[in-house]
């Protein structure tokens, strides 16, 4: 039961409190780049969840069964990024061949995610936070869901932004960032939620 509670806490805190995009600034590029339309935002978000999950699935065992026993901890970054890149390519090829429909909806986003810092960030954080395998998976799922949530919410905000009249020099990215700042501020309201989840 305690394990289960612990997992819920990890999940909720990575979705709401430590939202990767809005409070840890990981994955900002796609957040700003691909949140223009709701459809795109959802596609990107789902792809990120997918990649985060498989990346964790692979990098956690690599860290604990290959790098650590061989004292190669310092190769972490380089191995993780290569593994993630290769994995994404591999998944893309598999999807293309066997699930063309899914590939059509997610495929275009996959390569973009290779160098997404949120994915590398979540795999490294899972190791530094000392999570076990199940906790790592849950935390990755939470981070992915948090990313999706932020993307979808923000897509809604941006559709309104388009219609507003902003000063010339604020057009485009500046006003988008300021809007993102307010969405992030809203997420601050979740700060105490997780601590008191089971209180």
């Amino acid at each position: 039961m305690d394990t289960f509670k612990n997992l819920i806490v990890i999940l909720m805190s990575s979705v709401l409190v430590n939202n990767y995009v809005l409070s840890r600034f990981l994955g900002i590029c796609p957040f700003l780049g691909v949140s223009k339309k709701l459809g795109q935002a959802t596609g990107m978000g789902v792809s990120v969840i997918f990649v985060m999950l498989i990346a964790t699935l692979v990098t956690w065992p690599i860290q604990h069964y290959v790098l650590d026993p061989m004292n190669l901890g310092y190769m972490q970054t380089i191995v993780f990024i290569l593994v993630i890149a290769a994995l994404v390519q591999f998944v893309e090829i598999v999807l293309k061949k066997f699930m063309p429909a899914l590939h059509k909806s997610l495929g275009v986003y996959l390569p973009l995610i290779t160098t997404n810092c949120a994915v590398l960030g979540v795999t490294i954080n899972n190791i530094t936070d000392g999570y076990n395998f199940v906790e790592s998976i849950v935390s990755s799922l939470g981070c992915g869901l948090g990313f999706l949530l932020a993307m979808v919410l923000f897509a809604g905000v941006r559709s309104r932004l388009d219609e507003s009249d902003v000063p010339e020099c604020f057009k485009g990215l500046p006003v988008t960032l300021i809007a993102a700042s307010f969405v992030s501020l809203a997420f601050f309201g979740f700060a105490g939620v997780v601590d008191n989840l089971f209180a």
């Binding site: 310092y74 190769m75 380089i78 290569l82």
Partner: protein, 390 residues
């Protein structure tokens, strides 16, 4: 095909070269990093044990140490550093304490505390050099008695833990456990369950009386001796003749003590806090008082209970409090309810009108404390009225 081969060869060689370079860098930096990390880990330990070397964590599960000890590190020269968590006055303190091979405190520091007074930051310097035997004699800081006493207790636990780790044995029972053991030893018929009794007379050298809950008798405490007395006043413990006489006399006084009820309506000026008064055979007064604490004067927002705090006080005709205890209270649980703790009300023992305010207030319960003090101040008024001085 040729192109593919070239791709693979180039990528592989790039990887190989990078891996080699990383290995070299790691070879250079790894020892430095290891040293840094060790230094960082030792920094907190060095604060309480200057000059300590080769700290290593001790496996606590192998020893029966005081419960306050949460971590222990051994040091090259036979000393230990302990991390202790203690209750303190409000939300507890985490204390690091170093003990050298000769069993002396090398340093103590408070890592975190919810204490409000700040004495926990400086008290660590006071305990340096103390040993397990001398630590109890250290002064606490007036106005922060509990914080500093808890600090001192933690340091004592560290000193005891060092003795245990060094192969010695120490009594690490808590005060409550020691008391319970002593009472049971003095009066086995009491079945281990005793309640403190209010001493209504000024008794020679008797500091406390405990009554067995099953009415088997009493235990009289004189100095460090616990003496069992049956319900008829006969001393049942094996004690020296002198002590037997002393306790026996005290028991006679207690059993024979008659009290005379005083009709308060005869005294127009009697403060409303004084509910009843009795005069004992030896000329002392026993008052029952009510104090308006948070239950009466609390803010409406917190919905006070509407109940007074009821207090019983034994005072001499000269206006000195011999004993004081809280009879009942319905203050806020966990805050003002501390007025029912002996730690609080026994502070008034021995106090007079001139110094009764010099007690440690209940943390976070100013209204309760002030109400209590006001009621106590009426004891002195009442004594004066009854003695015809006012």
């Amino acid at each position: 095909m040729n192109k593919n081969v070239k791709n693979i060869v180039v990528l592989t060689s790039v990887c190989a070269v990078v891996a080699l370079l990383l290995a070299v860098t790691n070879y250079i930096t790894a020892p430095i990093i290891a040293k840094q990390q060790e230094a960082a880990a030792n920094e907190a330990l060095l604060v309480v044990m200057p000059g300590g070397e080769d700290f290593a964590a001790v496996d606590l599960s192998a020893y029966a140490l005081p419960a306050t000890v949460t971590e222990a590190y051994s040091e090259k020269n036979g000393g230990y550093v302990f991390k202790l968590t203690t209750a303190g006055y409000s939300s507890g303190m985490v204390i690091m304490c170093g003990v050298d091979a000769s069993g002396k405190v090398t340093g103590a520091t408070c890592l975190s505390s919810g204490e409000t007074l700040g004495y926990e930051k400086t008290y660590g310097d006071t305990v340096v050099g103390a040993t397990a035997d001398s630590v109890d004699a250290l002064d606490t800081v007036g106005g922060a008695t509990k914080t500093t006493a808890a600090y001192r207790g933690a340091v004592k636990d560290a000193l005891n833990a060092a003795i245990i780790l060094g192969g010695g044995s120490v009594d690490i029972r808590s005060e409550e456990e020691i008391l319970a053991d002593n009472l049971t030893a003095a009066l086995p018929a009491g079945d281990g369950k005793f309640t403190s009794v209010f001493i209504t007379e000024e008794l020679n050298d008797i500091s406390a009386i405990y009554a067995a809950d099953n009415c088997a008798g009493y235990v009289y405490v004189s100095g460090e001796h616990f003496v069992g007395v049956d319900k008829d006043g006969n001393v049942v413990s094996e004690v020296s003749e002198e002590l037997r006489t002393k306790v026996s006399d005290a028991a006679k006084i207690m059993l024979a003590s008659t009290t005379e009820d005083i009709d308060l309506s005869a005294y127009a000026d009697m403060p409303s806090q004084v509910l009843s008064a009795k005069k004992t055979a030896s000329g002392n007064y026993v008052f029952e008082l009510r104090a308006a604490g948070f239950g009466i004067n609390g803010s409406a927002y917190y919905n006070p209970s509407g109940e007074y705090i009821y207090i019983r006080v034994l005072a001499t005709a000269a206006g000195k409090i011999i004993a004081c205890e809280t009879v009942s209270q319905k203050e806020t649980d966990g805050v003002g309810s501390a007025c029912a703790n002996a730690d609080f009300y026994t502070q008034f023992n021995g106090k007079e009108e001139s110094n009764y305010k010099e007690i440690d207030a209940i943390s976070g319960a100013t209204v309760t404390t002030n109400g209590y003090k006001t009621a106590i101040s009426k004891v002195f008024t009442a004594v004066k009225i009854l003695e015809g001085e006012a």
